[in-house]
């Protein structure tokens, strides 16, 4: 939660305390959503699904410095896999999530092998090409994706055999918040692991990392697999909650939006990814009602402002300000 936990060495007790704070924060946010916006649960559930995509993107962009505009592929494949599993008779939501994770990891492996080989422009273009390739396949293989009509009729069974998905989206919402809570705690631990710290080192100075003996390429590929698992989880969760998977879940727009959300919140900080997703979707929700083109003007201006004035993202900016404030108070 505090910046110190991300940068300083992991201390076991502080780690546990941070995990508890994280869990409490998500549970608290979830409860606020549930009781304050009872009519918007479907929207909030959608935001949680997308938040997984942004968190996943943060793992490769914020932690490894990989610029990618094709990340939705990992999310979409997870969603399609979970949807197909459900149509094939695997209706247990937990199993569907597992299917999504496995499919996302596999896609992450292929994508990571391709994309992390180079830096700079080739990397960016390879990531785009991979994403577009998956999108073209999703359009073509209509027997398993439903083509442009999308995959419909996904009706998962009750959670743990007890809680049915209701038409108000209550079960879906609680289920999603629970999944987010568990995933976030696990990922926050992961982000403090030596592995993730080494990825940060690679991001900061690839050459130096290589000189001290870090095997850069395999590490980035592994990180891509982890990101694939997270994105696949989000995709599966979205498929479970909405009952449909469309071509938009693999599209370029989704990838670009995820990147915008990440930068808005702050890359290199999992909380930034989560909050960026929530802020962007809220902004979208309330502004796009006017007209899609007004919405584009506003999001364009917002992006320009954020890049110019808050290049590290809103969350990191707030953290920095709070830190400065504390220091100033400590000095007095």
């Amino acid at each position: 939660m505090t910046p110190a936990s991300d940068t300083a060495g992991p201390v076991a007790t502080a780690g546990l305390r941070n995990d508890l704070i994280a869990a409490a924060a998500i549970a608290g946010l979830g409860a606020i959503g549930y009781f304050v916006f009872p009519d918007d649960l479907a929207f909030l559930t959608r935001v949680i699904g997308l938040a997984f995509l942004v968190i996943s993107l943060d793992l490769v962009t914020g932690y490894c410095g990989v610029a990618t505009l094709g990340h939705a592929a990992l999310f979409g494949v997870g969603a399609y896999a979970a949807g197909n599993a459900c149509l094939a008779g695997v209706t247990d939501p937990i199993l569907m999530l597992l299917v999504g994770i496995v499919a996302g990891t596999a896609t992450g492996l292929i994508s990571g092998v391709l994309v992390t080989r180079f830096r700079g422009l080739p990397q960016l273009v390879l990531s785009i090409a991979f994403g577009q390739l998956v999108a073209a396949l999703a359009n073509k293989l209509s027997s398993i994706t439903g083509g442009s009509d999308g995959l419909a009729g996904i009706s998962p069974g009750p959670v743990f055999g007890m809680f049915n998905f209701d038409m108000f989206g209550r079960t879906g919402y609680v289920f999603s918040v629970a999944v987010l809570l568990i995933a976030m705690v696990v990922l926050l631990r992961f982000a403090r692991s030596p592995f993730a710290l080494m990825c940060r080192a690679i991001k900061d100075d690839t050459l130096r990392a290589r000189m001290i003996g870090v095997a850069v390429y395999p590490r980035l590929v592994v990180m891509y697999c982890v990101a694939g698992a997270v994105a696949g989880l989000g995709g599966a969760l979205t498929a479970i909650n909405t009952g449909v998977v469309g071509l938009d879940s693999v599209g370029f727009e989704r990838s670009a939006e995820a990147l915008i959300m990440l930068i808005l919140g702050g890359a290199g900080n999992l909380w930034g990814a989560l909050i960026g997703a929530i802020l962007f979707e809220l902004f979208h929700h309330y502004v796009s009602a006017a007209s899609p083109f007004h919405w584009m003007i506003l999001i364009g201006l917002l992006l320009i402002v954020v890049v110019l004035f808050f290049p590290k993202g809103l969350v990191n900016e707030v953290v920095r300000r709070v830190g400065e404030f504390r220091q100033a108070r400590g000095a007095r």
Binding site: A67, F118, L259, I260, F293, M296, L302, I304, L308
Partner: protein
Amino acid sequence: MRTVFGILPDALAYGMVLFTISIGLSIMMGLMRVVNLAHGAFAMIGGYLASFALVSLGVSYPVAILIAVIGAVIISVPFEFLLYRRIYRKSDELTQILLTIGITFFIVGVANYIFGPTSKPIPLPELLKGPFDLGVRMIPTHRLFVIGCGVVTAVALWLLIEKTEFGVRLRAAVDNGDMAEALGIRTQIVYSATFALAVGLAAFGGVVGAELLPVEPFYALRYMVTFLVVVSVGGAGSVSGALAASLLLGLADTTGKYLAPEFGEFFFYVAVIVIVYIFPHGLFGRAH
């Protein structure tokens, strides 16, 4: 054989459109190292201006092209002055991508606010409308015109870069900006001139290529990726590389669409992945 003759003119014309639009981006990326995703937005501005000039003002086709190119350059000046100058050479790709995506969204939104959310026609003059007899088969005259425009652009740019004073300064700034600065070349002016050149070329390509890449509300977003891919495959800053990449990718895309239309852009991106993986700095590019 018939199929080959069916595909080739279209592939060539499409490739030349890609070249005319992308070459500005390529020079800009080679020189200023800016991943400018808003390049297509400037091509779109050209298309909208030409359509407006032709349909509402009723000017002739060449005048409309002129209006489009000059208008797009004028419109781009505040963007260059306020935003692009901050990201020349120094900032990381992520910042550039986000800033230029933001600019694209902004331009798309404003363009559609002014001109409305329908696709815009760019009517051709009588001269370019009919078919043209090649001897082997008939092809639309417009395709020949587009191919001609591409060739003229390539030759003119080659002359500009290799044979003029500006070209010398440009190449010096590309190779080593700091050294060029130290030798008294005012790189900021070279940068601004190059930016204007890039925008003008984009607008020109946007107008003459409107038959193949129609001017519609989401033009800037739809082809954003395509132009970037052409530059990456060709190698940033290389005219011959951009030409080769445009023709190659135009051929891959057109062939794919003729022979297996249901696969969409599948073959295009397979070609991209293979080429970029084998030549990470582009076909004719150099490592920076």
